[in-house]
Symmetry: C2
Amino acid sequence: MNIRRVRQILKSFADDTRLRILSLLDHGDLTVSQMCRILRKNQSNLSKHLMRLRLTGLVGDRRESLNVYYHLTNPKDPSLKKLLRSVIDSLSGLEIFKQDVCRLKTLKTKG
Amino acid sequence: MNIRRVRQILKSFADDTRLRILSLLDHGDLTVSQMCRILRKNQSNLSKHLMRLRLTGLVGDRRESLNVYYHLTNPKDPSLKKLLRSVIDSLSGLEIFKQDVCRLKTLKTKG
DNA sequence: TGAGCATATGAGTATATAGGAATATACTAA
DNA sequence: TTAGTATATTCCTATATACTCATATGCTCA
């Protein structure tokens, strides 16, 4: 861990859309277009936020034919792991994030 | 806790100077001019960062004649308390913050 | 009251970055 | 190869904000 990385990570928390992405990915892997539907943001916007999160190392991606699945990584550094957990936990009670998770579940069951 | 407040708090973490302030205040109360000397930033700059931190509720201040002492507040909300602790802990191992604390101690002993 | 110190605020500038629209790339299947 | 779908990237604009310098405010003491 160096200052550069910590700064990058903390900055990545300073945006609602990225927080919503992290909160969603905490419930499982998702493709870009699934996140588009849940978060009601356009694809270009989400791709850019995902790229930024990927650069911090907080999320990873894997391609499966046309789709790219994003997932939360499991930070090796204990303090970073704790930090990420604290951030996600501090969001979980807030209305907008609960709504996102609700739409996520709808999407998962209805296909 | 509402989304507005959480956003404000997470944004306040997205700046090195504010992180250094939080890290210092974790060791005890300080005046603006003390922080100027430790952080080697001008007074106007620090005052503005302190104002911003004060608006988030993470720090408080009290005036004692000419000096204004700033201090970390103790968040009531458990998840916020944990978040603040996680952030400060994730900084403590980094060189720049260790140097700040070192200068803090020098200042405290030498007066 | 006026001088002087600590702090806060305002004006102006530079930079970062979020956002959308359009386009490019990656992949699949016919 | 061509069409079609999912994702990434580029270009542009608008806004937020960090920074410095100058000035204002708050307080103390002579």
